[in-house]
């Protein structure tokens, strides 16, 4: 209180202080310093990636001197006739796609079942299972990677490779599906199902004919979210890879410092486009759904309020 009184007369004395005061004085005005800071931050986070994308189109070999536009580094991924053709790039792209596409249906099916089961099942087991489901979200990936690596090589006697990677990807994406689906389940509420059951539907019928259609947007968007997190994953893919299962992130990891040329940037750009595209689709689906049943917030805001 005293500070407010003390600064009040000064406001009239110096115009500079007055201007400063009007920056901070009005609690609902936009302080310019914060605005500049925020935009600088955003440029800092986005610009390096944009530059990396730009150099995937470089006509020269350099990753720091732009010599003109060309798509030769994209051709170097799949065109065997290209002079810079690198036969390790396309297999990495295909391995990433294969894993993501296989992870999608498995993780979504398991996760949706788990979410519905946990939301509707009242019992002591439910809270334990709920707790179990949250754990993968807070476990550092290296711990998950090490643990699966050790059990595959010591107990399940499972050869490391694509199958092991698939099992790993499903395990860490499962919880995301549960979170997305559960959010929608709470928004829908139990009324529709109970009405169906009062009218004589069995739980299975209520699920199939009432709940699943209502959940469709959440299921569909989980599909795309799983795709994006699977294609971006590095640690678990690397720990569960022996030979011939190099994914794009593994390829970037091993080649970035030494053998890197713009074709690596091209590969990374393709990966980034794929995951951004699938997330955009997921957001659009959630937004459509929100318009009908939603909280009044946009899907982006919902995502920002994503809570574990």
């Amino acid at each position: 209180m005293t500070t407010a009184e003390a600064t009040l007369p000064r406001e009239t004395t110096s115009p500079r202080v007055g201007r400063l005061r009007s920056f901070f004085g009005n609690p609902w005005g936009k302080p310019r310093f914060l605005s500049v800071w925020t935009w600088l931050y955003i440029i800092w986070t986005i610009a390096p990636v944009v530059i990396a994308v730009q150099f995937s189109f470089n006509s020269g070999r350099s990753r720091s001197t732009f010599q003109g536009f060309s798509t030769q580094w994209y051709q170097a991924i799949w065109d065997q006739a290209s002079e810079n053709f690198d036969d390790t790039l396309l297999p990495a792209l295909l391995q990433s796609l294969k894993l993501a596409l296989l992870t999608m249906p498995i993780a979504t099916a398991l996760g949706v079942g788990l979410a519905i089961g946990l939301a509707r099942w009242r019992g002591r087991g439910a809270s334990a299972a709920n707790f179990l489901m949250l754990f993968p979200l807070v476990t550092p990936e290296i711990v998950m990677g090490v643990s699966m690596f050790l059990i595959f090589s010591n107990l399940y006697h499972f050869r490391l490779g694509t199958t092991a990677q698939l099992l790993g990807h499903v395990t860490f994406s499962l919880s995301y599906v549960v979170i997305v689906t559960r959010g929608r389940l709470f928004a829908i509420g139990r009324d529709y199902e109970e009405a169906a059951m009062d009218l004589g539907a069995s739980p299975a019928d209520a699920l199939r004919r009432v709940l699943l259609p209502l959940l469709a947007p959440a299921i569909l968007s989980s599909f795309f979210i799983v795709f994006a997190i699977s294609i971006d994953d590095f640690v678990i893919s690397q720990f569960l890879c022996a030979q011939g299962c190099t994914t794009i992130p593994i390829k970037i990891y091993s080649a970035a410092r030494n053998a890197g040329n713009p074709s690596l940037n091209a590969l990374a750009t393709i990966m980034m486009m794929l995951s951004l595209l699938s997330i955009t689709v997921a957001l659009l689906i959630l937004r459509r759904f929100n318009r009908r049943h939603g909280t009044g917030r946009s899907a982006v805001e919902d995502l920002a309020h994503f809570e574990i």
């Binding site: 990396a52 398991l110 550092p140 499903v170 971006d232 940037n265």
Partner: protein
């Protein structure tokens, strides 16, 4: 158990657990069991001839020599101790920078986003959905130093006359800064998001009340906004601290120098370096998990304390 309204009670009782069962079994077999495998390998023995790990699945057969030797190596001097201390310093400095850089951003978007809020949020969230490796690659491109090529960032510094000779980012004391830059760049979006959510939740009438009562904007910030966002800061710090402690790819990509390795590198090295090292790698992973677990518990206790205080 009281009968739920409607439906056939007997049928309902098993129906929902059955839906959840495949997911639960999956997590038990591929999340809980593997976790147990870390302990079994860490506390197991080793084949003398082939140096293969012999996991001890029965807790009664556990032996603790590898584990205690590894733990001792961290506490007393040696390479592991240096790596552990370096990890602590890197993480602490990175979290501090994330707070200083990220708080104004989260604050601005939550309070003054206005019509641009959705755009700002989208731009803020975008890095989430770019692969971490892609984002590191971007910096490797900018900083990579080869004799013939100083890198784009150096050229900017030379051009603006900030430096007169190109800086080698991967060696000497600068390399620590390079790794910290990588860590901050990689994890700051994950810090800002929960912080934004906490700031956005603050009821504006509380700020108005504080101003009406005569508090200056600064003291409103220090005495109302900041305490109300404390949980968001803590949540953000925990969310980025957990993966940072297990990070090994950021130092390897940013500098690839043994001067910059973290705990994750020690684990990675032990496990990729042949089967004989598995027990040591497992012991390190257990120690790391225990450390992280302690942090997590501290966080959960503070959350529940804050919730209790809010109820009062």
């Amino acid at each position: 158990m009281p009968a739920p309204a409607g439906g056939i009670v007997g049928q309902r009782r098993w129906y929902y657990p059955a839906l959840a069962a495949p997911g639960i079994v999956w997590l038990l077999l591929l999340f809980i069991m593997p976790f147990y495998a870390i302990a079994a390998v860490a506390f197991g023995g080793r084949d003398q001839i082939f140096a293969l790990p012999i996991p001890a699945w029965n807790p009664l057969e556990w032996q603790y020599d590898t584990f205690s030797a590894t733990a001792r190596e961290i506490v007393t001097s040696g390479g592991l101790q240096a790596q552990f201390i370096r990890t602590l310093v890197y993480v602490a400095v990175s979290v501090a920078i994330c707070l200083v850089v990220g708080y104004p951003v989260a604050y601005y978007i939550a309070r003054y986003g206005g019509r641009l809020k959705i755009l700002l949020l989208t731009l803020m969230i975008a890095p989430f959905w770019m692969s971490y490796l892609m984002r590191m690659l971007a910096w490797v491109n900018l900083l990579a130093v080869k004799p013939e090529d100083p890198g784009l960032f150096n050229r900017l510094l030379l051009f603006t006359q900030v430096v007169h000779d190109p800086i080698n980012w991967s060696s000497g004391s600068v390399s620590h800064l390079t790794v910290i830059l990588g860590l901050v760049y990689g994890y700051i979006p994950f810090f800002i998001l929960p912080l934004y959510a906490a700031l956005d939740r603050i009821d504006k009438s509380q700020l108005e009340a504080s101003r009406d009562m005569g508090a200056s904007p600064a003291s409103t910030f220090w005495r109302v906004t900041l305490p109300l966002s404390k949980q968001g800061i803590l949540a953000g710090a925990v969310i980025i601290t957990l993966p940072m402690f297990g990070d090994y790819y950021t130092p390897n990509l940013m500098t690839a120098s043994p001067e910059n390795t973290m705990m994750g590198n020690a684990i990675d090295l032990a496990l990729q370096g042949g089967q004989g090292q598995q027990p040591k790698g497992a012991a390190l992973t257990l120690l790391l998990s225990a450390f992280i677990g302690a942090l997590m518990i501290y966080y959960l206790v503070s959350v529940s304390r804050a919730a209790k205080e809010a109820q009062r």
